[in-house]
């Protein structure tokens, strides 16, 4: 009976989970149907755009993960310490609401915010010496810009999750800390943060996996800035260019496969070692 109920989902899992992966593997190791070993990978690695793309994504990830961890934990602790229930709920909701603008819309909004001529925070941009849109999106600023955009859309969700985890810490433990004379900072450092560790690593791993996939932000910014942001900034953009500009599906599959291996590896690591998800 279990098979009947799960058959529809099973088919989709095969069609859009397993098969594309197998097909990407097939394409990555062949050319015109003939097995070519690692030729496609060698070609991709030697492409002059590959290494810069890896660097771009790596720098972005470092900036993003550090900011995300730091501020999400800090804000969750602060919001959790707010006495009034009403205030705490509203603040969490305000933090969360940008999540509704995921995807192209959030980048679109940030185009305005990053353009000193229309931005409501133009004074901030000007204070940093940024007078025009092209200057703002110059390549050195991009890791920070993508961090701000990703943080703006995604951090609220994580803050809500961390808040939930903080609520799960037993009252007895908190009470004991208070009786021992621990202030808010000590309690946070010695009790709350260690107890959040699983969730923090979950957030880190998921954001790392998602961050390697960077696509829509550089893609839209590249379109908007007419190439000041290069069209091959991230790895996924490069894979896209291989498939759509060069018609090289094998090369594209090779890059996708590298990214997929990273994502599956991180996910599998977490499922088997993280202990956050129930597996019976």
């Amino acid at each position: 009976m279990g098979y009947t109920f799960s058959s529809g989902y099973g088919l989709l899992l095969l069609a859009f989970g397993v098969l594309p992966t197998l097909y990407a593997i097939f394409l990555a190791f062949t050319k015109a149907g003939a097995f070519v070993g690692v030729d496609n990978f060698v070609k991709v690695f030697n492409d002059y755009r590959f290494l810069p793309a890896v660097q771009h994504v790596a720098i972005y990830l470092v900036v993003y993960l550090v900011c995300l961890t730091l501020f999400v934990v800090l804000l969750a602790l602060v919001v959790h310490a707010v006495r009034s229930r009403w205030l705490s709920t509203s603040v969490r909701f305000l933090y969360y609401i940008p999540g509704a603008l995921a995807g192209a819309s959030s980048v679109m909004l940030w185009l305005f915010l990053l353009d000193p001529s229309v931005s409501p925070v133009a004074f901030v941009l000007k204070a940093m010496g940024l007078e025009s849109f092209v200057q703002t999106v110059s390549i050195d600023n991009l890791p920070v810009i993508f961090t701000v955009i990703a943080f703006w859309t995604g951090a609220g969700g994580w803050i809500v999750i961390m808040y939930g985890a903080l609520n799960n810490i037993s009252q007895d433990v908190m009470e004991a800390a208070r009786i021992d004379g621990a202030g808010p900072v000590n309690t946070a450092w010695y009790i709350q943060i260690p107890m959040l560790r699983k969730w923090i690593s979950y957030m880190g791993i998921m954001s790392l996996a998602a961050g390697t996939q960077l696509f829509v932000e550089p893609r839209v910014l590249s379109q908007a800035s007419k190439g000041v942001v290069p069209p091959d900034y991230s790895l996924n953009q490069l894979a896209y260019l291989f498939a759509f500009r060069q018609g090289d599906f094998n090369g594209s599959a090779a890059i996708s496969l590298i990214l997929l291996v990273v994502a599956v590896g991180l996910a599998a690591f977490f499922v088997f070692r993280g202990g956050l998800f129930e597996r019976d």
């Binding site: 098979y3 859009f16 609401i97 995807g103 809500v160 939930g164």
Partner: protein, 303 residues
């Protein structure tokens, strides 16, 4: 540490300037981030009420006029003979069909994983967990390559089918059934002579209403905002609104000087298009705050 504890401690120690400083600092941090998260949205909602000139010169948080809003709206709907409606229609079609299909396959699958026993159950569960944790962009190009091999690119199915594959929903349903519906209840119905389908339909389904709503919500919101997959599989007039929005951008002279001369889009119109493109999701968000919290923390029920 809650604020009540704070006051209790400082009452004992008398005046505690350090504590008050800490509290003030916490308020400043929380307040700064409220501004950071909320202000852009306020600005975005106000921008379409202004003309391009007013947008540049007036106070960024001033309200223009309803007349300007109407004329901006007209400009948006006239762009390429109302292509915005085509895009919105596509989005509605894709996400709507995907929603129905996703619920039809996801809920029974989660039920099967939780309430029945079969040989492939464990492998299916573990695969689901792993695929659920893979960012959905990771499979976009492989899916594209696969779909182009079977010549489905440009067909509505090229987004509807991948959109209805929703492992996170299966996981949510699975968790829901294992934690809140007892097997005994289902067995009692079986003893009374109900067949498996009947047990599922008349007993399990009514109990599962909350999780059905939750799965539907996450599926709809995620798919509406999805950019990468439809961007590669639904070119041109087949695009949903998120992809169309980026297309509009090419016609804004400020961001794209070479487009000057052709039909151009003013900045407030682009802002309006952004608002229109997220309006359905924004509205759903406003009314389902409680959902979100339960859904997102569902991962750690066994902590």
């Amino acid at each position: 540490m809650s604020a009540t504890d704070l006051t209790a401690v400082s009452d004992k120690t008398g005046f505690a300037p350090g504590r008050w400083l800490g509290r003030a600092l916490a308020f400043v941090v929380a307040g700064f981030f409220v501004i950071f998260f909320a202000l852009p949205i306020v600005w975005l909602l106000l921008a379409p009420t202004k003309t391009a000139r007013e947008l540049l010169l007036n106070n960024p948080f001033s309200f223009g006029s309803f007349d300007t809003l109407a004329s901006n709206f007209q400009q948006l709907t006239q762009f390429q003979n109302g292509i915005i409606w085509v895009w919105l229609g596509n989005s509605a079609l894709y996400t709507g069909c995907a929603l129905v299909l996703a619920l039809l396959v996801t809920i029974p699958a989660g039920y099967a994983l939780a309430m029945t026993d079969f040989k492939l159950r464990r492998p299916l569960l573990i695969t689901t967990l792993i695929v659920m944790l893979i960012p959905n962009t990771a499979l976009v190009l492989p899916v594209f390559l696969e779909l182009s091999a079977v010549k489905l690119i440009g067909s509505p199915l090229a987004v509807i089918l991948p959109f209805s594959f929703f492992p996170f929903g299966v996981y949510l349903t699975y968790i829901y059934f294992t934690t809140s519906v007892s097997k005994d209840l289902l067995n009692a119905a079986r003893i009374d002579g109900a067949g498996e389908l009947r047990v599922f339909w008349t007993i399990a389904m009514p109990l599962a209403t909350p999780v059905i709503a939750l799965v539907g919500f996450f599926n709809l919101v995620g798919n509406w905002n999805n950019y990468f997959l439809p961007f590669v599989t639904e070119p041109g007039r087949k695009s949903p609104v998120q992809v169309g929005l980026a297309e509009l951008l090419s016609n804004v002279p400020l961001f794209n000087p070479t487009s000057a001369g052709s039909v151009t889009i003013d900045l407030p119109v682009l802002a309006l298009a952004t608002v229109v493109s997220v309006a359905p999701v924004l509205i759903i968000f406003l009314f389902s705050q409680r959902f979100l919290v339960t859904g997102m923390t569902a991962g750690g029920t066994k902590e």
